[in-house]
Symmetry: C2
């Protein structure tokens, strides 16, 4: 499909917006009236800028409160309309979005409204343009697309078509099936927006919380499949009102918008059951999501001091040094299936990462079936391939940048060939990769993002790795709220949790405020015997986060746990969660290694699939208390 | 009334919270269960800390989902209850808040519920405590205080009382009159929260948007008056769930909470019509709001360069230098009733202000009837009196600090005595204070606040000056949204507009982001002839902000203005707004003098009482474009 976006969806002046939209790959744009209003130039100037950028102005919007009015008002509205037609001619666009009336004195008479829409159609025809009539979810009388379609169908004039907007339809829970039966050439325009499910006034919801497809909770592939089935082949155009996007850099937002349309098109294809030839449809078809995905290693940017500290902890966790990189100051540690790489190479991407973030995850390596195709998929979605400095005899590994600039290596090991570790590292003679120890692998990684970072990462994890998102949860930190969302693939071989501060004080702690709130990252290792593992790690001296006694008193009241289990949990300092089907989650945290980083040990029992979210507040409070204590000491 | 606050209302660890609450002046506190849960000590430890601080634990909360359950669940709930009674004994508190059940399987049978509340009452009595039963607005079956009261009245047991919460009552629009007829000794506890009017799910509204009395839109004085009339004399306790407060420093938030209760008590007194002796009631009675309030001068912190620039502009606006301070590097400029003081004194509060903010408003002086009483009032609300370095022969002027540290001089001129200007300044011989010129005075000042600054300033302006707040509006800046709220006194002799960025990128522009969005302050001067004034200022070379032509095209479509007026507006670069009663607002902006500051010239016609809010987005867009152009140049 042709890909379009409304100027209102991103920040900046009109010219900045148009440049960002073109750079992201869009071929079409909707001009939002206010953006033109604030622009210091003529509509003709805007047309020339778009021409120079190769952007087609697909639509001018919105025209409001035309229909359902008295005769005198209708006359004034026609005058108003003619002025806007003049603007459209100067802009060089032939489509006008007309929203259903919201005025309290709208006359609720379909016959009258149809007559007035016929007037609209005749004037549009005279001006050589097409009006696209859209039912606003909060329209006074017309608020469903089915009602709008009945009216457009009644008028039956080529210059009056139906405009669809996924938000207006899905926010009301309107059934979408009927879309497929509308003749495609009677649909003049299709706007696309996702949104998180919220129970609030639909107008406020629409104005502040829309987001790009894939970032929210709506079934947009289902919606779009009906649109495609109708025969509509015009643009799919993003129209997103989002407080965060309003203040984020326009180029990055526009790029995410474009990706979101590609992803939507990919997700729409399998929903087109019964379509005669889906391959011929104008929908994006990237290489499939990587299969047999798992984490091969996590790579941390370290300096000498933090490496020493981290190695001390890893050794207490029974990790052993397994190798040293052939050409760089990079070491490999392993325990069971878990591998950790510590990168202290000067003048590398890792050292740049360390300077910016301190001890932090700078790269992850993923085993998968076809690294070349995985890279092609990621690049197709506009993510930036990475190639670093490679020494002699080292393998060239396809890689792609995350939204924060960290690197994702895409690794396929061919049997008979040296593994990546064998190729790049001088391996130490240890008891093989499956050395016996209490840890079985990496359960999940958790990234702390700046406020507003969630949307971009959501798209990245869905588009590149095909992960599914769980609903978001809010977790209270003593110094602000944290929004948390978990992602995983179907077989749970890859799990990622994203935490973002809701509050700016927490997010930009370092620069403006003493409040650190979050800003921590962690890695959770899995075990099948957490009591044994924790006992062993504690006796080796691993500092575990202390959990207040009151937590266990409350646990007792909440779950009526057996006295003995409760006592063992408390003795080992473990946290506990239970799901509705009786699955259990037992976990423990280390203290923070520096302000940004700690480790977790988890045991899943009985198919538990979460992350102990009810305990996150306890952890955050304990960590905050420790930071205060340390600051005071 | 005794003043109390729930620990959930502010940020921090439990100990930090308790210290902040005590420091703010509260005598009582509600312990929120989760704060205890995260605390690494026993309930007895909490009791000792409170004892040491002189804080009484008025209540432990919340106990949930007790009533409306089957027999087996009731038994478990009684067990749960007994554990909480143990906690309460250790805490040394005798009141437990019991919320109406929210569980989906609540049995909707008032008789059963009353029986189970009677069970609750008997167990409470046995434990020597009182249960306070509260109707949550989203309670499954019981959601109004009247319903809760019927149940409590039916049980008729001294250990079961009613708890009131202003949010639960006012959010539902429940009538409050019946409160007055409940026997005061049957009300066990009263929680107070305000909130902005929002059309959203009441649970979400309650959890994220509550605020202190006076910061929102509820009629809390009306609610509290009924509570007082009932005979209730227990604590008024703030229980506020607010995302902003969760991340703000606890001491400042607690101090605002305490002020808000004082202000509420003051506002409640006049609502107690018919009460026998209001003077004997335990309600705060500060000195009255200052009468005959007006701005005497505005004082700007400047350095030599910005002073030169600002003086150049002031002279183009026909301000004339009217004096020089007797002992400091401070000069006075006047035009009509408007007076501007430029403070470049080194090592003064003004120089500190300049270093932090650049050119900015560092002080305002207000004429009023009784400066001593006004200071007493401000100090009574906990605002900090200021006394600066005073030279020989200069007057000592009472002053109080604003939330941002700027100074408010409280000036009363006694006839026959030298005026403040005469006392402090060597005055130049100009044509007297009412020199003929097109400006008549200061219409309003507009302060740009960091995100989250609105609530604190709202209390300050209401408490110190008795200003009323208009409803807030959201204004789009090209780089983020701005929340704007206007304040004025009854005779409109003082008008203040507060703008706060909704988005952190805009708010903390200097430190983390290129996005400056707002961060501007301005002063608006009034005139009776804006066309003449602007023509004169322009010909003197004052740089006015350019308004795009498209704005006028749209104005034409919106208001159907006479061709001649439209032409004159465009010729002079004026913005236009009209209210529903035909009042008109014509205004023009200067360019920005530095990144933070500009001037406005306004003419009000026909009783127009607003600030041209629909034009603010045009201004912000023009300013943003200018900044971009300047940055590019």
């Amino acid at each position: 499909m042709r890909r379009s976006i409304a100027t209102v969806s991103i920040s900046g002046t009109l010219v900045e917006k148009l440049r960002a939209i073109q750079a992201a790959g869009f071929g079409c744009v909707e001009i939002f009236e206010n953006d033109l209003l604030y622009y210091d130039g003529t509509p003709g100037d805007v047309r020339r800028i778009c021409d120079d950028l190769g952007l087609r102005i697909a639509l001018y919007q919105p025209f409001r409160d035309f229909e359902g009015v008295g005769a005198e008002r209708l006359e004034r509205n026609v005058e108003r309309l003619k002025r806007k037609f003049d603007v459209m001619h100067a802009l060089g666009t032939d489509r006008l979005l007309v929203c259903s009336s919201v005025s309290p004195d709208t006359i609720r008479d379909d016959e009258l409204i149809a007559d007035q829409l016929a007037v609209l159609a005749r004037h549009a025809q005279a001006a050589g343009v097409t009006a696209c009539y859209e039912a606003l979810a909060w329209g006074r009388h017309v608020h469903s697309y089915r009602h709008a379609w009945r009216l457009v169908d009644t008028v039956d004039h080529p210059s009056l078509t139906l405009a669809l907007d996924s938000f207006h339809t899905l926010s009301l829970g309107d059934p979408v099936d009927e879309i497929a039966s509308i003749p495609g050439d009677r649909i003049g325009f299709v706007q696309i927006a996702d949104a998180p499910r919220m129970d609030m006034d639909v107008l406020e919801w629409s104005r502040h919380y829309r987001c790009f497809p894939g970032q929210g909770d709506f079934d947009l592939a289902g919606f779009t499949a009906r649109v495609v089935k109708s025969g509509y082949r015009g643009p799919l155009s993003l129209e997103v009102f989002n407080d965060g996007f309003r203040s984020a850099p326009p180029a990055a937002t526009a790029a995410d918008g474009y990706r979101s349309l590609l992803l939507l098109e990919e997700q729409t294809r399998p929903r087109l059951t019964g379509a005669s030839d889906t391959d011929a449809l104008p929908l994006y078809a990237p290489p499939a999501v990587p299969a047999h995905l798992s984490t091969q290693f996590l790579e941390f940017a370290v300096d000498a001091a933090s490496r020493e500290h981290l190695v001390e902890w890893l050794e207490k966790l029974r990790f052993r040094r397994a190798g040293r990189h052939r050409s760089k100051d990079v070491t490999l540690y392993r325990h069971g299936m878990a591998a950790i790489v510590l990168n202290a190479e000067p003048d590398s991407f890792a050292s740049a990462f360390f300077q910016q973030h301190g001890l932090s995850l700078c790269a992850s390596a993923f085993r998968l079936d076809d690294a070349g195709l995985a890279l092609e998929r990621a690049a197709g979605f506009g993510y930036v391939p990475f190639s670093g400095r490679v020494g002699p005899n080292e393998r060239v590994v396809p890689a792609v940048r995350s939204p924060d600039g960290s690197i994702n290596y895409l690794v396929n090991e061919t049997s008979g060939q040296p593994t990546l570790f064998e190729a790049d590292f001088v391996l130490t003679d240890i008891d093989g990769p499956n050395e016996v120890g209490p840890l079985t692998g990496i359960d999940h990684i958790c990234l702390a993002l700046p406020m507003g970072g969630l949307d971009s990462w959501t798209l990245f994890l869905k588009a590149v790795f095909g992960l599914d998102a769980s609903p978001g949860v809010l977790v209270p930190d003593p110094y602000g709220l944290v929004r948390s969302r978990a992602f995983s693939n179907r077989d749970r071989s890859l799990r990622v949790v994203l935490n973002a501060s809701v509050d700016p004080h927490t997010a930009v702690a370092e620069t403006v405020h003493v409040y650190h709130g979050t800003g921590l990252n962690h890695v959770a290792f899995s075990t099948d015997d957490i009591f044994g593992a924790v006992a062993e790690f504690k006796s080796a001296g691993l500092p575990l986060l202390h959990i207040p006694r009151n937590y266990y008193d409350d646990l007792e009241a909440r779950y009526a746990l057996p006295e003995s289990l409760l006592a063992r949990l408390q003795e080992h300092g473990l946290l506990y969660d239970r799901d509705e089907r009786g699955g259990e989650f037992l976990h423990a945290y280390t203290e923070t290694l520096d302000r940004r980083f700690f480790l977790e040990i988890v045991e899943r029992r009985g198919g538990y699939d979460g992350y102990g979210a009810p305990n996150a507040a306890v952890r955050l409070a304990s960590q905050a208390r420790r930071r205060r204590d340390n600051a005071a000491a």
